[in-house]
Symmetry: C2
Subunit: 206 residues, 2 copies
């Protein structure tokens, strides 16, 4: 299947569906209608069914979807049927937050290494991971087979770190630095920038 | 003007334009075409012009936009012509990261207070802010006139904190807890969840 046949905005909603289904499951539910899912996510049921139709519809039966089956199908589409290893570069507050977050493994991700440039941080253990010296980044990354990295370094170092990671085979970057990274075609970048979210909300505040 | 006349997805792109224009300005540029802006943001120039047309087009002259004027116009639309005060609830790693981030004020936001439930954190100073006792949340928030809060507490406490904030007049919530908050109609919630971004990228990785 051609991955790019599906609009990016539809793909971006799939993890949101997984998250909502997870919550329903924890509430003890086993079946959900597209109407109810829509209400929870502030979407119309027809939009949800249209999103699902890109992947064959996920077999809605009678009055609803079987939550476990739908979640498994969505996770399969998102390639979440195995654990992805993740590298963290930059162990300041944000990096520490990621390293200490215990929810990744449940959701398909495991942080396997962390690097920093600060001598006070190098050699310490954060969230069970020994923080390595950024000078030794390539020695690990280029041979590790890790494809995903989180960049949590200051803005002025982020592009250089990104270039080094991409050269070593990193194909997906979660970028916390407040800049727009330049990467070669085919490399995924997701930006996490609280300011953009705040600025989006203030539009509605006056 | 009816704010909801403009699709949410268009509004969400406005801060991204502001960010890109900011970077161009720092590179010493003064004029930019919609084509170049599009290349930088991986969008078509016609999409950008269509977005801008919701707000009257922002006066493109000849071969491009005057960057300073365009940025000012976008900031005006986003209500960023004054500084918004922000409250942080939860001073763990993520909250500390927000409190120590020095880029907010340049971009229209100022953190004015922080609260936590942990006696070891209450009374300390983080990023120049004295951390208050969460038991005293209402005493401040209900009288402060602050309308924006970041929730950086554990998932199991986030809904309760959200309810308390909304009762005290908070109208926009930046939610870092990995749950979907339930809020009354008209309250803005933006979720920051690295897992959703990671899961979005893995779709393209196999």
């Amino acid at each position: 299947m051609d991955k790019n046949r599906v609009p990016g905005i539809v793909v971006a909603r799939l993890p949101v569906y997984v998250k909502a289904l997870n919550l329903l499951l924890r509430e003890g539910r086993s079946v959900v209608s597209s109407e109810e899912l829509g209400e929870r996510l502030n979407m119309t049921s027809s939009q949800i069914r249209r999103d699902f139709s890109y992947f064959g519809g996920f077999g809605k039966k009678g009055s609803g979807y079987d939550i476990v089956s739908l979640m498994e199908a969505l996770r399969e589409v998102l390639n979440l049927n195995h654990i992805w290893q993740v590298l963290v570069v930059g162990v300041g507050h944000v990096g520490k937050g990621l390293l200490n977050y215990d929810g990744f493994s449940r959701q398909g991700f495991e942080i396997v290494a962390a690097y920093d440039a600060d001598d006070e941080v190098i050699g310490t253990q954060v969230g069970g991971i020994d923080v390595g010296d950024i000078d030794e980044l390539e020695a690990f990354v280029c041979t590790s087979g890790v494809h995903i990295a989180a960049i949590t370094v200051p803005a002025e170092n982020a592009q250089e770190v990104s270039d080094r990671l991409v050269k070593c085979g990193i194909r997906a970057i979660l970028n916390y630095a407040p800049i727009l990274l330049e990467v070669p075609e085919g490399i995924q970048v997701s930006n996490i920038d609280p300011v953009l979210k705040l600025q989006n909300m203030t539009y509605y505040l006056e």
